[in-house]
Amino acid sequence: MATAARPRLLDWFDERLGLTALREFAAHKTVPLHSATAWYYFGGITLFLFTIQVMTGMLLLLYYRPSPTEAYESVQFIMTRVQFGWLVRSIHSWSANLMILTAFIHMFSVVFLHSYRRPREITWLSGLVLLGLAMGFGFSGYLLPWNKLSYFATKVGTDMAASVPVIGHQVARFLRGGEDVGGATLTRFFGFHVAVLPGLTTLLLVIHLGLVQRHGMSSPPWKEGKTLAQMRFFPNFFLRELMAWYAALGVLGSLAALFPWELGEKADPFASAPAGIRPEWYFLAPFYTLKLIPSHVWRVEGELLGLMGFALLAGWWVLLPFWASDAAGQVRTRWVTGAGVALLAYLITFSLLGYFR
């Protein structure tokens, strides 16, 4: 009786949702097998961590209050009074950091495996926008506990925007909700963090994942022309990806439980910036670079010069798929790999210097 009912139920859903087409698509999707196949898992792990962010974020929303008089106290309440509140907040913070780490690993694996090549230019661009959005989540979320470090990090970050010529002041006012970082900034950042950024991220994720399905998994150029063994996406790769997610969850749970995320001291707009202040690790490289640039280089303000340098670097990186190929359409793999190694070396070295000095 039950076995007869099940197919009928499946048929009912199939007729309405087109499940057979989905099953057909999954059955034909394959993943190339080679020595670097493991790097394919990082995009999925990033997506998994994003879903953790959404879920823990929804839980935190039940108690968090976005005002300067209540924000710090509400996070303190979550951490000390709400059952497992410390764990939920710790998972949210650790997962945010791990998500950005895995997004960076995913990006560099795309570079070193040269997966940005034609026709995947828009996949690359949408991925970079997603990375920018993830950093936007990090920057906006950092302020929400309203502690000293986050207050000054936001002051510095929004003031960097203010130093952009012509539009800088308007951009900074828009971000801060006024002339200075204050209650209006907290309300805005909360709005960005829980509404604007999730909306944009969902849209970009649909585009990015849709394009990945459209073009399939890329094989590295040195494997092209060779017959590569293929793994079926479903269930073989999918089950492996699930195991990777499970491992990521294990790492996340251990970090969150063993090293609970600290709350720090409440922000005081009339206190000096504390010694040893530094931003989140993924902003350390530009932070340290700005520290090194003198006040003026020739006649240009050091801060403006630094910003121009970062903008040029970002533009050059965004356009990677377009300068990576020569006129004949041949990919300059050595150039790109060299550029990737140089950027990675800069980020690691300056982040370490920013952390320890």
Binding site: F152, K155, A184
Partner: protein, 143 residues
Amino acid sequence: MEQERRSIIGWLLGGGLLASIASFLYPAVKFVNPPDMPEASVNEVSAGKVQDLKANTGKIVKFGSRPALLVRVSDTEWRAFSAVCSHLNCTVQYNDARHQIWCACHNGFYDMNGKVVSGPPPAPLEEYAVRVRGEEVVISRRT
């Protein structure tokens, strides 16, 4: 004739669509732009009692909506500056070991005249006048 009529209708419809999009966007853009909040101009504040601050120490005091740094250089010498670093807007502090003003954010140093000594700050700190009225220390904007 038919073609021309279609083209005119196309322009009208397209123009109407663009105009309606603009009419939705304009108020939205205006909405996100924060309104000006005029502040009462502050020219003078009381920074506390003389005995509250020892020689070679400094403290942050409210100067309107912004922080100011008051430094007691010696028993008789006082200095005050805007505490907003000219680099990226952090709040500076007095470094008693170097007898200088320090911004912890990007390691900028200013001397006791507010001039940049080292680091990335591009401009000096605005200096305020300090007067001692009996037991009270008063900071005021220089005219």
